[in-house]
Symmetry: C3
Subunit: 208 residues, 3 copies
């Protein structure tokens, strides 16, 4: 069971566009921007496949690189509108990340990884490339910043996907997993929810 192949390519390419826009907003040169876009779009999926001991599909199939480069160029050219993150784009990014989580978790389940590893690999698929691109452009990873729900939203979505997948089946699980990730992520930004915090932690503490 899996989502249609072209859909997977489409979602990964969209993520490259977001990554390239962010990299360009950080004053990265042309090839560095496209490289960051490729990392964001493909890095998590490649790492997931490597961890599962299977050949990364983004390497063996020639569709992924050109799709992500094309989307990266568009993202970089429109970067100022993208990094401003108007609500529809925020929703789109939530959907993209939520879908990547379910793709990743499903591949892990298909390859007989235990449930807990599938949850983790879902999150890795959606976040690892972005983490590398943050770090490569000299920034603290979004995952490690006090901001809105991000790792938390995706972990909830990944866990929801795996639970529903093991009980109700694949398609309900996709809907639930994507919905949980997207809704939490979207609402956390739209309503300015802070990241879940440790007990007694000051929310005003400075980063770093």
């Amino acid at each position: 069971m899996s989502l249609p192949f072209w859909f997977e390519v489409f979602v990964m390419a969209l993520n490259s566009g977001f990554g390239a826009a962010l990299a360009r907003s950080r004053n990265t040169p042309v090839f560095g921007t496209l490289f960051a876009g490729l990392l964001v779009g493909l890095g998590g999926g490649i790492l997931r496949d490597m961890m599962l001991g299977t050949e990364p599909i983004a390497i063996s199939n020639p569709v992924f690189f050109p799709a992500c480069i094309a989307s990266g160029v568009v993202g970089a050219l429109l970067f100022s509108r993208i990094v401003a993150m108007p609500r529809p784009l925020l929703l789109l990014q939530g959907l993209v990340l939520g879908t990547l989580v379910t793709i990743g978790a499903q591949k892990a389940l298909d390859l007989h990884a235990p449930a807990v590893s599938a949850i983790a690999l879902g999150v890795v698929t959606a976040t690892f490339g972005g983490m590398l691109a943050d770090v490569m452009t000299g920034h603290r990873a979004t995952l490690a910043k006090q901001a809105h729900w991000m790792a938390s939203a995706l972990t909830c979505g990944s866990a929801a996907f795996v639970l529903v997948s093991m009980t109700l089946g694949f398609y309900p699980a996709v809907i639930v997993g994507v919905a949980v990730s997207t809704v939490i992520r979207y609402l956390s930004v739209a309503r300015n929810w802070p990241s879940p915090s440790w007990p007694k932690e000051s929310q005003n503490a400075t980063d770093n």
Copy 2:
């Protein structure tokens, strides 16, 4: 030959606790902290298994993630006491890192890696996750900082383990490898030894 399985899990979980404590002390949100704990606990071992072309045991076995998450929660809650690093905890961390070095080097030898690669993979097992977590939280990697013996202590321990393992056997090698790593690391902090330095290098040079 290898250490008992539960012992390996236990040591990796302890390392996650240290990692989560450090991440929380750097003002990382809840899921980011647990993610950093997982990276510190499991990242080095997963990379080692991937480099050896075998499926990472932390992915295929469902015990590692929950153990490291549980330990990460404890580490994050007690972070202020952990990052203060009183002497018994410093000793414990030395033992944990020393044990990880021997586990990593032994897996490499078991899979017929040459001795020099086994030494390197021992060090990778103990340090790679921490390096990623440092970088992800916006810090220079401990390995690349002028401070006390760290990479150096672990490299000595890994080399000692491999040498003794190829001559006297596994158990003496574990004792020697752990002892060398731990004693050098502990003494270097307790007695404030600087990192080994290049000839004529000023020890007062500022970092970065």
Copy 3:
């Protein structure tokens, strides 16, 4: 088809020397410097082999680590002369990176990766280790900096190699790939060409 084995070792070791020199110039302790040198020399090739699903040759063959450590020691001792990058060394570094690009792209083609993945893996081979070492020493990756042609030069060289390799054969491709990478990189520094920039981008924008 491939370059002679000893030549591959030689080029990777030279790259380690450059990496160790740079790490030492950033005030990294002895073992951290050698570790950075190993990352720069071997990291890209190891990642490429892992992505291609084959055992990393730098792990399975015991020659690479000692060669890179030896070269790293030399690089670190002579660091002040190396980081000053006089023209002959700049040319040598261009040749090293250009050769690594062709080695990486060729391995990918040998293992039946599609052309576009081979181009990407050529660039990964030459740059990934340096990117990690930059990040580990607390710096923005060279790839993501506004400076001279770097990722761009190597991408052109990798694409040229793959195109010529698929038409005229291996040896002409090596010459063209190395020449394109090296000449662009060398000229971009010698004549102070800026990185290719996005339309209407200010070249005076500050980094980060």
